[in-house]
């Protein structure tokens, strides 16, 4: 029972952390290596809110909005000029990532900032679990559902899906491609910011938070393939299960390394990721 819970938590965590990156990659073929730093900024935004007296949930919203807007700025200033140049966007966002880490370290110092959490524990099958973990699982599911709902049921979602399938045709039909990309990048950034905020009660906000999660998210998205939702769900399930299971039995480092090795092997077998061959879907 404990194992199942740990695995579910692991999957949810991975999905939450990767979704923003997946949306941007799936939609724009941009590998945003600053994704981790977007999360980091979300964490700091949340901490600022809470320290100014706001409730935690408001901190989440503030983080999502703030980082979302920042994402729009990044898209305008940096990504915009590098479309189609997949290697250059990777390098440029890598540069942005270093820049943000350096900036935050200079401004706020390297130590972690935390916020008080009074969430209490829940007893389950003989073990104690922090009830915050359940909140995280719930939010993770929520993020996936909301993204799915937006994509499936709204006009904006339709536009995004259309542009994803065939940007030229979409453009010919009158879709403002620039605006679509800008909004999508902003949305992906907002998801990252939200993830960062949700993680703050667990990890605190520090400059190195991004580095810790970005490689996991990165692997998840690449192996997931080009369909953001399905790819993230499948890859998160696979890696979350492996990581949760192996970490429980051996250690978290062995879990991480196992995930990485499995990722390398999977990429060799499925060179375009799990959903690489699927032509339709989300």
């Amino acid at each position: 029972m404990t194992t199942i819970y740990l695995i579910v938590y692991s999957i949810a965590l991975l999905a939450m952390v990767s979704l923003g990156l997946a949306v941007i990659f799936g939609m724009m073929r941009v590998i945003n290596l600053a994704h981790g730093e977007f999360m980091m900024l979300g964490g700091y935004a949340c901490v600022f809110c809470v320290r100014s007296g706001a409730p935690l949930w408001l901190g989440y919203i503030a983080a999502a909005i703030a980082v979302g807007l920042f994402g729009v700025l990044v898209e305008r200033v940096l990504i915009r000029h590098l479309y189609g140049r997949i290697v250059d966007t990777l390098l440029a966002t890598w540069g942005l990532s270093l820049f943000l880490v350096g900036l935050v370290t200079s401004l706020f110092g390297p130590q972690a900032w935390s916020i008080p959490t009074e969430f209490g524990n829940v007893s389950f099958g003989g073990m104690n679990f922090s009830s915050y973990n359940f909140i995280l699982i719930a939010i993770s599911i929520g993020m996936v559902l909301v993204t799915w709902a937006i994509a499936r049921f709204t006009v904006a979602g339709l536009i995004v899906r259309g542009t994803m399938q065939d940007p030229v045709v979409a453009s010919a039909l009158g879709v403002n491609r620039d605006l679509t990309y800008m909004a999508t990048f902003g949305y992906g950034a907002a998801l990252a910011g939200l993830a960062g905020a949700v993680l703050v009660p667990i990890t605190g906000a520090s400059p190195s938070v991004g580095l810790f999660f970005v490689s996991k998210a990165f692997i998840n998205v690449i192996v997931g393939g080009h369909l953001p939702l399905l790819g993230t769900i499948l890859a998160s399930t696979l890696f979350g299960a492996i990581d949760g299971f192996v970490s429980y039995i051996l250690s978290s480092v062995v879990g991480e390394v196992t995930v990485l090795i499995v990722a390398v092997i999977l990429l060799r077998l499925l060179p375009r990721g799990i959903t690489g061959r699927m032509r339709t879907g989300l």
Partner: protein, 343 residues
Amino acid sequence: MTPEFSADAAVPPKSWWWALVALAAAALAGAPYFGDEAFQLDISIIFVFALLALSMGFLWGYAGILSFGQTIFFGLGGYSYAILALNLSATNLPFLGALVIPALFATLLGYFMIYGRISDIYLSVITLVVTLIFEKSIRSTSGPEYVIGAVRLNGQNGIPGVPALTLPWLSEPLSISGVFYLAGGAMLAAYVGLRLLLTTRFGRVLVGIRENEKRMELLGYDTRLYRLAAFVLAGAVAALSGVLYALWGNFVAPEMFNLNQAAQVVIWVIVGGRSTLIGPIVGAGVVQYLSNWLGTVNVGQVTLVLGFVLMVFVQLFSRGVLPSIGDAFERLRRKGKSYGRAP
């Protein structure tokens, strides 16, 4: 616009090039007489990084393989030397072993990726992931049970007390000046060696593959073999820089494998430009000098500046400093020509 890569790589270098190489060798030989040990240490590490940059620049610029994982072999080279040298009492075998072991791993990894026909961007991703695997694995080996022979891996603290190298024809281990000569000599030798390699059949075929792999295949070349050979060669050069790093600091640590180190290699090559062999060397020198100068202030600031440099260079000087300067000169030259023509 001038093409990114010189079409003359296959042409043997002219005499002025050889003169410059001789000059560099002379400068190298004489430098310890003009600078104290601190100076030599500062320059030696630049030689070490320049060699690492050269390995990546060669692989990217001339074989067309973008590897974010030269740090894999850099770290493996350093660690192999440390572990072998601390276990055996001699240092010559460890030196060789520290080149062979990474080369073997490069063959394995390269075969897996290149013969698996993994697409370019995913190849780059895998190299990044593998260097992360090494970093995470080694960083977690703090416990006393993680031992190879008599040497503890020591996790994130790294392995101190790496013995100095005693060359077979000398009776004493290398001093700081000795390491300076070795590092500088290795860098120069690697540069000259790679430059001359480009004039051989292997080098010319490699460049052909970079230009158009599919066409070369249709001409009858097993491109996978050539690319694998280039990957292993670049790995060996990176391993050499790793050994030199261990000799320079008498120390190896998991940071040799980490994301920051990998990012630095990329930055050196981007700043210097991948379209020449001298570019990465210059890039490493410039960036290291800059980092040293900034490092006296605050760690955070160095990362910040490096990140900024990377962003700017990717956008504006995507071909690197040297080619961009070359482009600027080319434009000035063309303007000059048009002024010279009769109206």
